[in-house]
Structure formats: structure tokens, C-alpha cells
Symmetry: D2
Subunit: 350 residues, 4 copies
């Protein structure tokens, strides 16, 4: 119960560290006879991979997903699907400095306090590399959702303070930031470059939108669809906030403004973000996640060592300037996993 | 697995409807030999109870918690603690209109779509009355946390657009809105009254702050303390957003601003909200929840009936103008439940 | 996670003690729109009730099941069904002696070691009275199974060494021992009476047979149908053994004898007890449980007190002579709960 | 929730098929700072391996356990431990015949009915090869139990009708059948050889005994230590029965015989098998499992094909004559996993 599983009926369990043998996931509860091959993972894994922009970290592994079990003659068998992504290019020397010093904003300190030791190389288990397993699981989840014809889109709504003003899903994969508004891509590039030159990093906001979801997914009270989405999204390393539909804006609306009028043709507005009482209402499911700036920066920082003594830390090497683009496919995957789980749960009571 | 349980080691299962026999919770996993009596619930239950302000709904039940099991000679026994709050004053006639019409912003439509029928009286299972069970569970959770000397405070940070400018915990229980800033209480009263006169409702933001939590609570990856808090908070009916520490503001900060420098005396700032890598870091745990305006308003609304035909709905009766004050003790309870669960989980690996 | 829940998709959580307010169960995951009323519980609860034979304990409560939630206008709503059986006739004075002395064969000692205290009145949580909640849950489980047309029978295969030689299901409810062979009922009565006169108690073997179960229920590896039946049955207080199909006899058979030949008309034999690889094969599911003699006997026994000092214990009052007949409806209920859980799990992947 | 996980606090999830890439397990909830290396698995894996006796199947893989995650610098990190055993020598040609024909006594038919297809090679997921993952998990579980000084022994109590008359734990690893009584080893060899010559197979009974377990492990009601042991043991492929302590014999004892008298020095007898009310009582935990004869026999058998048409099946190749010896380390492992899980659960409420 160490917290490395997610979902109930469609249940994923991930393992692996940034600089260990690799990263993997076991999926239990996937229905049988779904076509699945290692090629199915290539596109989504590539979207999560670093090295897409000139400013990314140079570690550019192919991130090939190996199917270890659960598929026979090209079809899922109903038994656990184990997926594994072998680590490559894992030089751990750059991390020797954090053997003794805690990096501000990272999990080094808390892992050390909780476990008495930790695999500090690249953040070990707390590394963003862990999300590779989520993206792989998301690919399977999307296949599980196929009968529902749900389409899930995720994109960079805002990065470094630059916000997309229009949502054009066709634009998303035409720029390295997964920005749905080509008009602001250049501005995003500039803030990214400026942060890079300053040795700093930037955050942003990712929006996820699921279209075509029927009404009925989600459970009352604790396992609300919104609650499980909140957990799934907040469990991603850099996420510090999550909102559904109008979200924090709803806190300032009147009931007469926030209520979505119902008509025979559907809801007139979608402040609810597609979820009422924790159950999907048939409208688009819309959520946004706040992504903090990457804590690994090139500027000198104040910290302490394992004995609690004050120290100065200046990281060497190259790091991503923003987690935002790379987190886009991860949040899409988490949404897919949550929806697949609730879809299968829903089927059990139909 | 209908979604009515929460927590793993300290696990609560709630049941009951707004206008049924009552509302209850079974707590499994509570350690033995903790003093517990029915009087322990009185204060927190009173804080959640309607009828505290002149604008509240007139249903003012005493909400007496009955201990059905798990306590012997004044001490918990380690076996399940069942708590029950009997419903009183449950006139269901005012709800006859929603036998056929869906109330915008409520769960009527989605429950009907999912289950084919629903207990529409007062919202049935989706009613805010369900939170009575959460508050009762929170009282027990706080007792479980006693050895850690964690103090959890919750208060109205903002209501109807009026925001507290200072946080004075002593002020919280000196005004009916649980506002930590006496200077804005009058303004809150005015927006509440204005909404009432308009037949409308308002939302707001609740902040929860846990002090004294040691580093080490929370699990890696999916069961991060932040993820479980997000789920617990988002599972409360009116919540549309949750953020930890700097939250959505972090999306616009630089890494050099958002990282909390570490010193031998502790963290210099707390943008992390007391959680790093999903594990408590010893600093205050701080979260905020966005509360939507109550969907029950007195204005006529556009809706449909069970057959999908257009209809106009004008609710009769009296309703709360804002869920905000009453949700304050509920979010405090959810924070306590999450912390108690993770405290007991932590003990298993110590 | 104190161990008081069972099942995954159809999940029951029980609470209550022998001499507390009552015994209850919360059922989560039950589909909606199933007709359910308090009258539905009368027959099965009566079968579990003591006082059916002149030798039973005189505590003869009506054991009326109260539906606290989850049913509206006669139909289940899909939300948690809470059932409660209020305790009556709960004189706790006879139990004062076990405030200090541990009863051999009972859970007094282990509860005290584990929890530091326990509700000793009538065994508290470890009392057979807890099974009232299981029987109530079993009634709902059988309703969930209705679409499958599974019929579950349970009966006394053996008691006090007297074994039924023929299985006539029509006979089961025509004698107070639920024996399927009227020819041995008198012998059973005699051994029961002899044990009573000696102040002693007797055990036996209960068989459960489920007919009409389609092939496909049960999961690979850990949640085999056989494994969940084993857990469900072994979790009943007095059970010390469980076997499926040929069971322990299979240990002495050859493969050529034990394999059930397959023909277009079905299996020729049923040594498998209806389960292959943990999944139902369409044949009758057959299991047997070994029931130990009730540990409460009228003879003086050697024991210790809470301080570990030697003592002699002679119980006062009247007790059942055998748990066997009363456990018959309990094991039937557990089989129904396991099958309902696996039926709903199965639906999620169809 | 496909049924491939076991345990709650110490939770294992297994994956893999007989003739796929390999067999693996992810362990979540293991405490940190436990020394663990790949060499730790060698002995137990060797005990489960075929090829120990001249009559075993010739597939003799080294079954080297690879640690994929969760260990850093020789110590567990508290994060998931993924273990993998690569399959070798996996000729699947001999299995072409079962592409169309169901093997009596195997899971072929039920997997096909449930999943619509299955990996028939060597039984795929339902193969005994799956138990390699259990044995590996058991090695880690035993390390978790180290602070308790529990010693778990498992041995062949009976095989092919030949029963050990004395239990000498020193003898267990001095003969290829793990028989604790050297005096009957020759007889066991003879029945095994006779079955082999007849192209038949034999079953038996395995006993597991855990010494040194403190009182307090196990939970009330459903997660009784006995219930979890029953599930864990019954979940092993060839097991058809499980009994604790006196087991089925208790069904014929009187209460005065079956009750274990308590003295200041401990229990006088151990009919309870070390468990009272589902909680360990400090005495030896004793269980026995009935192992059916291996269904793969060389004799011609009556069966059907995938279209339900009658067929004759005569398996080619070589198979084990009895699962008994190889299942001994598997049941030891399952006992260790259950005890480790309950040990960690127990710690959470201490």
C-alpha cells in the first residue's frame, strides 16, 4: 500500500526510478481482446520525451515501451499487462552533489525524512521520469475507452504568464509547446528563452478536455469523477492546483450565473465542466492544472545538507526550463486512466 | 465499490440520504483505547449545522451523533465505529416539483441518467446533508492525530468576492462566516444579504491550514498527501477547485521565486504548502478550495423534465445563500481524515 | 482497514457487537432498481436465529432488519444500503466473569492482546452475533444474482460425527438441523442431546452448493473464485477448514481419477467443484466447511486471567450446543456475497 | 482489479505467462532500509524449480530474479520493488494441440469462456510458472518479518497417500520431496515412480508451520489471519482445500476436546492452529493444504474442442508427476506474504 497504484477496476501500479533499470507499469483489469502492440505507444511516448525543443534536457531516450505480459497474438488476454521502458543514458555522476545536499523544491528532503535513505540519482522515484509509465498506461486506457468514442485533448493553456487566447485543437501538435493558439507560440518561446538565459524556470497551466463522454461516469460521494480526476492530476509531480469547469472563477460567480441552464438540446453553458454531483453529465469534461516552475535551476540556492547544516547549492548540467509541454501528454494520460476506470466501474452496475 | 468509502488504513464509509432515516459513517481502522463519547461531536456538528445566520435554511436539526458500535466503557475498541445522525424535520413535500424536473447545477440529472431513478427528496444522497457524516468522521480522525499535535484550522478566505486580508485564527469562531478577518465580516454580510434579496446565491474560497505536521506523511506517486487531499476536498459537493501552497499562482512564478530556500531553522517560504514530492515537509500544510454558489436559487430557471421536454423551474422554500461557512468544518474534517489515514500508513513502515 | 469489509465491486462493511446497540452492514456497489424491502430479510434472518431447537440459547430476538438507507420507493438507488439489526435481550451480567478470565477457544485473549481492551460482553465484536449482518447482506447479494438464476443451497452434511448419506434439498428445511437426509435427523438429535447433558458441545461440516452459475466468474491468480470463497467462509468464526469439490480427498486421487472428463453435454464428474483455474466452469460450485465445536461449554476449564495467573472457569447460563445449524444460512450468505461480487466484476470486462 | 494483487499494506501484484517474456511481481508497501540483493532469492527459487528429481519436467531454468526497482545501494528504498524472472527454454510447439482442445482439469476452458481467447502456451497465466513470482515475493516478505523472529517451515505431509509419521524439520531439505520423515521417503519415491510409469499423476498434503509469531496479527471479522491465509493458499493453482489447526478433524471433536486449555506457560494444546478469533495467539500457526494431482497426464483423455465437439486428447512431452514438492516453497511464501502484510497492518495501530 505504498501508494504506487491508481484506479480500482482499471488499476495501474507503477515502479522504477530515474536512474535505475527502467520505469514500468502493471495494468490489471483491462478487458481482453483489445488489439495492442508496442507500436501503439510510440506517438504518446514521443510527446512526453525530452529533447523536443532546443532548450530541453539533452537526455533523449527513445523510450521504447516493451510489453512484458498480457498480450497474446496481438490481443490483450485479460491478464495483467506489464509495460517496461528501459532507462538509457543514465549518467548519475551529475547527481553526486545531491547525495549530501537537498535541492530546494524537490522531494529529496521529504524522501530522506520518510525513508531514511533515497535513490538521489535524478530524483530516483520522485523524478518526472516516473510519468513515462503513466503515459504508457494512458495509451491502454484510451483503447479501453474506444467503445465510448471519447476524445481527450490536452494542451498548454498558459506558460510563463503567456496565455492562449483561442483554443484550436489542430494547432496543438504544430508547435513544440502544445499550445492551441499559434498566435502566442512566439511569446512562449521568448519567455522560455529568457528564463533559460537567466538560469531560471517557468510554470504554466495545462487544460484537458474530454469530448463525447456519456452521462453516467463517476460515483457518488468520494469516488466522484471530479475527485478521482483531482487525485490523478494532483499526483503528477509538478501540479499544485486543479480545477474543474469554471473552477476558482466559480467562487466569484452568482448561482444564477454559474448554473448551466438545461434545454432539450443540452446544457447552454458548461461551468460545471461536464460533471454534476461527481457524475459526468454528457457535456465536455474540462479541467485545468497549475504547473509549478521546475525546481532545478542554474542559480545558486540556499539549502541544508543531510546533517542539517547550511549550504549553497549550484546545480550543474542542463535541465528542462518548464515542465509544461512535457506534462501535457501525462495529464491526458491520467484523464484517460480515470475515465477508463470509471467506464469499467459503470459497466458493472449496468 | 460504489464510491462511498475513503481512506485506506483509516477508512470511512458513509451512507444515508437527505430525507431518509439519517446519515451515518462506519470508521474502520481506528486504533483502540482512544477516549470517545457522543459529546465529542457536539461542537463540530454545530459548526456544520444550518441555521447559524438569519439567512440560513430554517431546517435546524440538533444533529446529535449516536455511537452505534466500536466504543466500550468510553474507549474505542479497535473495531468499527459506526456513527449515526438521525434525520429530523424532513418535510419532503417541497421537493415534489423535482420528481419530474431537473434542477440546474444539481446532481438530479446525472443520478437519474446513471441509476434510472433517484431519491430526489432534498437531493437524496447528493445532498450537502451527506457531509454531516464527514464531520463526524473528522472528529474521530482528529483524535487519532492527537499524538502528533497537529492543529487544523479552516476558515472562509473569500465569500461573494470579499476576501480576508489578514488571517487571525482567533477571529474565525467569532463571526458566523468563519472569516479570519473581522474587518471584512460586514462586507460579507452585505453581499450575502444582497444575494438573498435577489433570490440568488454566492460562492467563495475556503482555506485549510494544518500546523505541527511532521515530515513524512504521504506516499510517493499516486497516494501523495497532496493527491489525497485533492481527492478528499474535491469530493465535497460544491468544490470546483483545489490548490496547495502557491497553487495556481505558482504557474506564474519563476523557479527562483517558487522554490522555498532551506535553512537549519526550516523553510524560508512556503510556496510548497508543506508538501514536497507528495510528502509532508514539516511546514504548515496549506490548501484552498473553490466553492461554487449554491445551485438552489429562487429565480426562475430554464430546465428540462425527465422526458427531456423544456420546462421552467422556480424553487419554493428557503435555501442557504452560500455553502461557504457550512463547508468550512467539512473541509477541516476531510483534511483530518486524510492526515489520520496517512499517519497510520506511515506507522506501518516505521 | 481494520478488516471489516469484504468484496471489491459488491462490497460489504459490517459493524456492531453482541451486546452493544446492534449489528449492521453497509453494502456499497449494489446496482439500482432492485426491489428491496425489510420483509425480504425475514426468512433468512429467522434461519440464523437461535431458539429454533429446544437446546438452543434462549436469547430469541426477532432480528428485524431495518433499512437505514439506499432504498427509495421500494427500489435500490445505487447508493449505499445500510442495514441495521438492533440488539435486544442483552443482559451482560452473565459475562462479568470474563471481564477478568479468558474463555478457552474464544477470542477473548487475542482481542485483549491486540487491542489492550475489549468489549467482553457476549464476545463483543467476535461474537457469532456478528453473522447477522452477513446474512442480511446475503439477502441483497442473492437479489443481485437474480439475472443469473443461480440457486444456492446450504445444509448440514455432518454434525457430531453423524453424516448425511443422501442429499435431498427438499428435506433441508423440514428439520431443525438443516440436514438434507431425514434418515439421520434422529441420530443428530441424540448426539446433540448427549452433548448437552454432558455440558459439552459438538461440531460438524456444512456443505454449500450453487447451481446455475455460468462459466466465467472468478479472476486469475489471487482473486480466484475458490480463493474468495475460501476467505469468505474461513472468515466465519467457527470455521477451521474449507474444501472445494473433491477437496482433501483429491490429495489421494490420481490425475486420471480426479480430472473431470469433458463432453459436449458438460463435465462427466465434478471433482473440481465447479471451478477450474479459479474461474467457474458452469458446473455446480460445491464447497464444504469444517465447523469446530462451540467453545462455550458448561464444564470447568483451565485458563488464565488478565494478569496471566492460572484460574478455573465455569461458565454460567445457556449456550448453543452446536454452531452448525445456525451457521448454515451464514455460509449460504457468504457464498452469495462472493458470487455477487464476482458477477459484478465480470460485467465490468464484458 | 483483475485479481492479480494480494495483500493490503504489504501488497504484491504479479504478472507474466508461462511462455511469454517472463514472470514478475511488484511489491508495494515494503519498508525502507532492508538489505536486499538478487542473491537473496537463489535458494528459495531453486526449491521451486523443476528438475530436482529425475521424474520432473526437463525444463530447468535457472530462474534468476532480477531486481528492476526499489533497491538502492543494497537497501530497499520504500518504493515499489519490481522483480522479474525471465523465461527461458520456452518451446511452445508442444502446446499447439491445446490451441483447439481443452485439457481436462486445467483452466483452458474457463479462460476461454471468460476472455474469449487465451495464451494457451503452457497454460499461459494459469500455469504453475506464475508461482515463481510468489516465491520471489515471499523472500522479501520474510525479510520484512525479520524483527519478529518468525520462522516458517513448509513440508510434504503426505504424497500419493504416503504420510509422514513424524515431523523432523531437519529432514525436510535432505530429500527431494521436502518430506519431514526420512522413513517414508522411499515409499514416496515408489508411488511417484509408479504413477510415472502409468502415465498418471498424484497429489498430496502440504503443511506450513510458523513459529515465533506474537499474539496480535490478524483483524476481526473478514481479514482474519486465518481467512487471509485461506485465500492466499487457495489461490495457488492446485490447492483444493485448506485447514487450520485441527481443521476438519475439529468437526468431530467435542468442545471439551477441541478447546486449548490456557496456562501461565501458554496453551496446553494447539487445536486452534495458533489463531483465535482470526488473531494469532502466540502459539505455532499451523495449516495444511490439499494438493490435487497434476491434471497433465500421459493417458488419453476425453475432452471437447473450442467448438464444443467431442475429442480425444493425448498430451505429448514430459510433465511433473506431482505438484507437491514444488508447491512447498510456494505455500511457505504465501504464508510469509500474509504474515508480513498483517505485521505491517498491526504496526499501524500500535
Amino acid at each position: 500500500m505504498g501508494g504506487n497504484s491508481f484506479g480500482k477496476t482499471f488499476r495501474i501500479t507503477t515502479f522504477g526510478e530515474s536512474h535505475g533499470t527502467g520505469i514500468g507499469v502493471v495494468i490489471d483489469g483491462c478487458p481482453s481482446r483489445i488489439p495492442l502492440s508496442e507500436d501503439d505507444f510510440v506517438d504518446e511516448m514521443a510527446r512526453r520525451r525530452p529533447g523536443r525543443t532546443p532548450l530541453d534536457t539533452p537526455r533523449s531516450e527513445p523510450d521504447r515501451v516493451e510489453i512484458l505480459s498480457g498480450v497474446f497474438e496481438g490481443l490483450t488476454t485479460g491478464t495483467p499487462i506489464a509495460l517496461f521502458v528501459r532507462n538509457q543514458d543514465v549518467k548519475s555522476e551529475p547527481y553526486e552533489i545531491i547525495r549530501s545536499l537537498f535541492r530546494p523544491g524537490h522531494a529529496d528532503y521529504t524522501y530522506f525524512k520518510k525513508y531514511g535513505q533515497f535513490d538521489f540519482r535524478g530524483g530516483g522515484r520522485s523524478s518526472a521520469r516516473e510519468t513515462a509509465a503513466r503515459v504508457a498506461a494512458g495509451v491502454v486506457a484510451q483503447k479501453v475507452l474506444a467503445p465510448l468514442e471519447i476524445r481527450i485533448a490536452a494542451y498548454t493553456l498558459e506558460m510563463g504568464g503567456i496565455r492562449a487566447e483561442h483554443i484550436d485543437l489542430d494547432a496543438v501538435h504544430k508547435n513544440p509547446f502544445y499550445c492551441p493558439d499559434m498566435a502566442v507560440v512566439d511569446k512562449m518561446r521568448k519567455v522560455l528563452r529568457a528564463a533559460n538565459e537567466a538560469g531560471d524556470s517557468i510554470g504554466g497551466i495545462v487544460e484537458v478536455r474530454a469530448t463525447g463522454c456519456p452521462s453516467g461516469l463517476g460515483e457518488p460521494v468520494f469516488d466522484k469523477l471530479s475527485a478521482d480526476l483531482a487525485k490523478g492530476v494532483m499526483s503528477v509531480g509538478a501540479v499544485k492546483g486543479i480545477e474543474i469547469g469554471a473552477g476558482f472563477e466559480a467562487a466569484r460567480l452568482k448561482g444564477s450565473q454559474n448554473n448551466d441552464p438545461m434545454t432539450p438540446a443540452g446544457f447552454k453553458t458548461n461551468h460545471a465542466g461536464g460533471i454534476l454531483g461527481g457524475i459526468s453529465n454528457g457535456d465536455d469534461i474540462v479541467l485545468r492544472a497549475a504547473i509549478k516552475p521546475i525546481p532545478s535551476i542554474m542559480m545558486e540556492q540556499e539549502t541544508i545538507d543531510r546533517e542539517g547544516r547550511p549550504a549553497r547549492l549550484k546545480l550543474q548540467g542542463r535541465f528542462d526550463i518548464s515542465a509544461v509541454p512535457r506534462i501535457v501528454p501525462v495529464l491526458k494520460a491520467m484523464a484517460a486512466v480515470v475515465l477508463a476506470d470509471h467506464y469499467l466501474r459503470w459497466k458493472s452496475i449496468l
